[in-house]
Amino acid sequence: MKIEKIPEFKVLIDESKCIRCKICVNECSFGALRYDKKKNKIVSKDWLCVACLRCVAKCPTGAITITRNPISLSPHDYWTERVRRDIWIRAETGSPRLVSMGTNLNYPSIFDHLLLDACQVTNPPIDPLREPIELETYLGDRSISVHSEDPLGLMIEVPIIFGAMSYGSISLEAQKALAKAAKELGTLMNVGEGGLHPDLYPYGDNIIVQVASGRFGVHRDYLNAAAAVEIKIGQGAKPGIGGHLPGEKVTAEISAMRMIPEGTDALSPAPHHDIYSIEDLSQLVYAIKEATDYSKPVFVKIAAVHNVAYIASGIARSGADGIVIDGFRGGTGAAPQVIRDNLGIPIEIAIAVVDDKLREEGLRERVALIASGGIRNSGDVAKAIALGADAVAISTAALVAMGCTLCQHCYTGKCPWGIATQDPKLRARLNVDEAARRVVNLVKAWSTELKEILGALGLSSIEGLRGNREKLRGIGLDELTLKMLGVKPAGR
């Protein structure tokens, strides 16, 4: 066995429980399980197992366990198993590795070093069961007078929208589930850069369409079908490099939507080839506004990078109505591993420095600020908003709600849960209504939690938390980071 094939996981099947129904064999989309007639038992090719747990969930008798392969490489805390395996794979193939989802490296999380303040005695909290607490959020230019003919903003009922995931990277069923959920929740979903499937047009009022460098599926009616248009410059998982939909996922339907040959790799280059400056960006912003008769907000999405504050200031001056910033933990359907794991900055810092810069320049009210990239729970949502965001965008969390187990193999197109796949057999596994219900539930639960947080902070609306860093305290953060975040240390 080649060294890089030494399995990372082991499939253990309890012979006494297994009834030889072979369900697991059909359920494993990675081809790790097989029924051996002669031995009358299920045998596994452990090196193909990605620990998606589909077989475990589907086994009627609970006979399957997936464990880490207990073999041990001689321990070394610097040349870790991960490092060694990464080298072996490259040594064998001569190519960079493609990976999926946000970085799985153990970078320190700033969210986990922030705490929210709470009221006691002198400043009474609010009881969300008794008093209304408002989560409605306005996305757009707040400096326009309410009497203006075309206030371009959008009102969403919760400060949470769904991040961009294209038709191609995820299945039509997953997109439909997000669209349904967005509609029910009174919020927005983003169809990413793969065009807008005809089935989604009825959800237009709850959809953001994207214009990315590959311009897949972009045309006049597409722009006009949505509630907002987003120009995608970059993505947190891969700042400075473009989109990549592996050919495995470019089926006949995807090829029709994107107008590219079937089976080809859909690459969107790093830059839009008509954008090399803020002036050029502004040109595209207004081209979109012209094509939509100034009826929709235009957002610009960028990855969080070191000079994000200056870029954001440029975007605010470009005529855009919103800035979407995606931190380095942001997910992806496919990205080169070295890029995903080493580029970009944390979303927490990005929000704070952008909010500061925009305030300093008197631009903050002109644009909405939407933060994404690693938002895991309502605590993260509250902290992101307190740091200065108007709303957050969630993607990975929404997929996990649908059933994704974060096996991180989206790029193979074999998603066993019917989410990140275009294979009709696998797609059929995702029940749109059920997936939508679970996503709605997640956001509803988070909303209730947000209200509880706001009540505890003595705030009656999410608006009161926006950029309210007085409500945050840091623990275990160095002085400079605290300063950059504009947050006091706990106890002060």
Partner: protein, 251 residues
């Protein structure tokens, strides 16, 4: 047929486009824009069958997201002509700037003179929808970069010898480019290859040259289909081997 004239002197792009849209909505079929001077996005997102004559110098992104109209420019045009256009025709009787026909999805662009960098990049194609760009003169570098479909023809009516553009068709994975004259292989970008012309190619070229010369009122004498070089993708999946896709997960 009556021609509806719009004097664009002193109007900004918003006003010009508002006038155009109003006229088109009223059912005007033939518009003539006079004194155009750098206004951007002319006919941007305009839908329907209307003919628009442009006298003067239209600004960048002429016909961006356009869907159907027939636009004729009596003069030069800027960058981004026919950017992400869906259908229709754009005819320019002069030169054009950079990124002409970026991600065009259908329709035709004819340019009598020269074109700048990145002509016809990301051209798309599906089924009946096949964008076509014909340039009478020379083109800049990165011609047809990342092309996924469609047809680009560079006639080089006034030139002999080898084409000067560099990085031609880098990353091409669909569609075809025809260049009149010689092309040194070192001018080709990653994933591009020279190929023989098929019977269908010859037929298409003849039709396009004839139509181009009719529209531009120029002579096609001296242009023979034999002189064209065809550039296509080396494979439908030039980037397949760029990344290693493994199902071996690393902890």
């Amino acid at each position: 047929m009556t021609v509806f004239e719009i004097d664009c002197r002193g109007l900004n792009f918003k006003a010009v486009n508002r006038e155009i849209k109003k006229a088109a909505e009223r059912g005007e079929k033939h518009l003539r824009l006079l004194n155009v001077n750098g206004q951007r996005y002319i006919c941007g997102g305009l839908k329907g069958e209307v003919k628009v004559e442009i006298h003067g110098f239209p600004g960048n992104d002429l016909g961006i997201f356009m869907d159907g109209p027939m636009v004729e420019v009596y003069g030069n045009a800027g960058d981004g002509v026919g950017n992400t256009m869906n259908s229709g025709h754009i005819i320019v009787h002069g030169d054009v700037g950079d990124v002409v026909g970026y991600s065009m999805r259908g329709g035709r662009i004819y340019v009598r003179g020269n074109a700048g960098y990145r002509l016809g990049i990301h051209l798309k194609e599906y089924g009946e929808k096949k964008p076509i760009i014909v340039v009478g003169g020379e083109v800049g570098d990165f011609l047809g970069e990342y092309m996924a479909g469609g047809v680009v023809v560079v006639l080089r009516l006034e030139s002999d010898g080898a084409i000067e553009s560099r990085f031609i068709a880098a990353g091409i994975h669909g569609g075809r480019i025809f260049v009149r004259g010689r092309i040194d292989e070192n001018r080709l970008g990653f994933g591009a290859a020279v190929s023989d012309l098929s019977e269908e190619d010859y037929g298409l070229l003849e039709e396009l040259v004839r139509d181009f010369c009719r529209v531009m009122k120029c002579s096609s004498r001296g242009v023979s289909s034999e002189e064209f070089v065809k550039i296509i993708p080396v494979s439908k999946r030039p980037f397949e081997k760029l990344y290693h896709q493994t199902s071996i997960k690393v902890p």
